[in-house]
Symmetry: C2
Subunit: 111 residues, 2 copies
């Protein structure tokens, strides 16, 4: 009656004022905005609508009470977006937590 080997899996996310503001998917969105300089491109890559991506960005910005992404609409290529230094700091904090979480998951699975 031994418990068979299993893998532990899971997710972590950041909440501010009881609201989820940042998790794995949103961090990926921020990283793709940072890499492409474009919310539209990032949305495309993640197969979400432009509006969805905008809503997420606004939700993240207002959750942290300061912008992680600044964007300028319009212009030739349809506007540019940059991830602020504060945004980069938050991404890095989340990834460091996530790495610790991955370690936790593999330590607590059963070989």
């Amino acid at each position: 009656m031994d418990i068979p080997p299993f893998k532990l899996n899971g997710r972590v996310w950041i909440e501010i004022g009881d609201e989820k503001v940042l998790g794995h998917g949103r961090v990926e969105l921020l990283e793709r905005i940072h890499a492409s300089g474009s919310i539209r491109q990032a949305a495309l890559q993640m197969k979400m609508s432009y509006k969805q991506a905008w809503d997420l960005v606004n939700h993240i910005n207002s959750g942290f009470k300061q912008p992680l992404v600044i964007s300028k609409r319009g212009g030739k290529g349809g506007g540019v977006a940059i991830v602020t230094p504060f945004g980069l700091e938050v991404i890095s904090e989340f990834k460091s937590i996530q790495q610790k979480f991955f370690d936790f998951l593999s330590e607590n699975g059963k070989k």
Copy 2:
């Protein structure tokens, strides 16, 4: 530009063969079956249908390749269900992992 205080939240679950077999909700179902001796009662308490509860129980039993719940349909009260000693062991293992996970979450939030 300091990161504001935040709460870390999350979920963990057990996978066997890349399939989720047990998480927070299913453990609650098992505990309620154990307490009430009835899948029907447990389902009612968790506001799920009897069929949903049965499907979950079957999924858990087959995932672990041995029964965590044994049930007898029919009879006066509509059948009884018991959580096996193996099932109790799995519940206890999951709760111990979950407690460590709660500690992880509070250690990694930001005061």
